[in-house]
Amino acid sequence: MTLDILYFAWLRERLGLPRETVETEAATVADLVAQLVAREERYAFVFGDTTGLRVAVDQVLTDFDAPLSGAREVAFFPPMTGG
């Protein structure tokens, strides 16, 4: 499965990239995070504590247990501060 992964705010800055495309068989968001963390040091830093992070699958806010089957876009970001 090909996934577009997007990063916003300080995650984008720390990783040094706003988006990337990955090939993955991850079943859930948490599986995907584990794969990323295993890949490079900078991901381990960003995803060290996911309790303070938010995730959206195909532009809908969800949680780290969410399944990825059929997903095309996953976004990671800190809590929102609009308004």
Binding site: W10, R12, A56, V60, A75, P78, M80, T81, G82, G83
Partner: protein
Amino acid sequence: MEIRVQEAPFDMGAEIGRFAAGRTDMGAIVTFSGLVRDTDDGLRAMEIEHYPGMTEKALTGIAEEAQRRWSLGDVLVIHRFGALAPGEQIMMVATAAPHRADAFAAAEFLMDYLKSRAPFWKKETTAEGASWVEAREADEDALRRW
């Protein structure tokens, strides 16, 4: 219902005037607008990042939920992104309803959800440097009343 996500400034007075014009079926209009506030350590600039595509969907979903919960005639949401200076308008919501209680409740609901559920992130630059604004626990708590 109108949802706008834009980089350009907007004229709050003109928007509200237009929103209110010609309504004979609505008794109450409530508006909220958020302005860039100077901070104690001297805010120089604010930068707002957002998630194009999801932002519009999230705001539309929040506005539709408000219309389900209250008897509303109309809803307007405008939110900017990009670089803003102190005193500039960040965003506004407006609600029109036959009765004032609905207009007030819906406007507060829109603001509470927009704050914590629409994908915007603020970065402030002061004399001390640049930093991402942290979400306040009070904002998350505010959602529980609805």
